[in-house]
Assembly symmetry: C2
Homo-oligomer: 255 residues x 2
């Protein structure tokens, strides 16, 4: 599926013939995190995203009850067109499934947030190493000691991803990603994991440890796991998300 179009990916998931992770698929198109909430929680969640744009870069918020993201993926159906979903009930994972047709309600609002798969693509195209890609692992993700700006019941710590960079390329990695606020923007922290409250880089809270080369500097970016984690901690009555790595492919181009 490397060179598939978004429509081909949507169709394959709708037909149940793909349902795999989307990393490396649909080259050149922005992939998105999904979070679906009922209307009563959606306004607080929207404010949370607006106040924390680095972990929560809003690409689209759908109209109430409408499963089609008309602006960034016209023709798609968010109830069927992702490979895999997770359903959270009162902050606990209730189930994983490959569609949510029978769960959909007419007060649901879907948030599509930029995903770092897109900026890894930018780094690679610029000739920078992305070690988790080279090592074929889900890169490490950590809960930091930094507070997000709260909104309503949504509050919690910033979650960060880490990518090791050779010292002479840290500046390039910074400027390239800073130009793309729609997919998390520039790093939130460079160097010292301790200062970010991370005691051991080899014990990530999500994903897998990445092998660092000698002299590599750890570079930390805000991560799209943040809003999901915050909603779980708020014990939100109902939230439906993509399953880890099983993202929604949009029609937006990575530029």
């Amino acid at each position: 599926m490397r060179d598939a179009t978004p429509e081909q990916m949507w169709d394959a998931n709708r037909a149940g013939t793909w349902n795999q992770p989307t990393s490396g698929t649909c080259h050149g198109f922005v992939q998105a995190n999904l979070a679906i909430l009922p209307r009563k929680d959606a306004f607080d969640f929207f404010r949370f995203c607006q106040r924390n744009p680095k972990p929560c870069p809003v690409l689209e918020v759908t109209d109430i009850g409408d499963p089609e993201p008309k602006l960034i993926a016209p023709g798609a159906d968010l109830r069927t067109d992702l490979p895999k979903y997770r359903v959270y009930s009162n902050g606990e994972l209730a189930e994983e499934r490959t569609d949510i047709v029978d769960l959909w309600k007419d007060d649901f609002v879907a948030f599509l947030l930029g995903c770092s798969f897109s900026f890894e693509h930018l780094l690679l195209d610029a000739g920078l190493p992305v070690r988790n890609v080279a090592q074929n692992i889900n890169g490490p993700v950590y809960r930091s000691n930094r507070d997000c700006v709260p909104a309503g019941d949504f509050q919690g710590k910033l979650v960060v991803s880490m990518r090791p960079m050779p010292p002479e390329l840290v500046a390039d990695a910074t400027t390239i990603t800073a130009a793309h606020p729609e997919v998390h923007g520039g790093p939130v922290h460079i160097g010292s994991p301790e200062a970010l409250g991370i005691a051991d880089l080899d014990a990530p809270d999500w994903g897998q440890p990445v092998k660092m080369e000698p002299n590599d500097v750890p570079v930390f970016w805000a991560c799209g796991v943040t809003p999901q984690q915050v909603a779980m901690e708020a014990k939100t009555e109902l939230m439906i998300t993509h399953a880890t790595g099983h993202m929604f492919v949009t029609k937006l181009r990575v530029e």
Copy 2:
């Protein structure tokens, strides 16, 4: 008040000793458009702003019922600290007043949107002419033929401001403002007023005509009047805004 702090401006309005337009006051601080809506309309309005970031650059959305913009103006009170307010009822201007203390309800949400006063400051600092400032007028503002992206009941035409620029400075005016999406960003249109549906530059829909120098090119930016106009056309039951030119001064710095 040119070198007043935001706090001094808030206090003066709270005490009723200022209540004048804010253009040229509080040098170096970002000024904001205000729109207050009841919660039932706020989520649609928020989506409208997210979908139309050039006319509606969201600086802060307050918590429900909270008149303090805690993030960009901690300590301020949006019920008293602007020089003048307008109250719209079912899309019609109902009254102008200098505070809204007795109108405030615990389901009100306030939107603060970036204002072009801040980018005029950027242009002036860069040595570019801002003719409406030099001519001491409220610059011309026009309804364009371009549709905004709708959200719920909110839909309508993009409203634009126009500033004439000498041909050799159009590129500078573009790059300088494009770097500041929080105050409308770069121009939406350069040249031909006709192509934007504007038949006569000397007959603006708001503000006053500006005298152009020979060879000046009309440069158009998205205008913060857009969301107010769209809410009026939607005949929103209740909306409270700043009065034209009587903006809210934030603690954000123009950089």
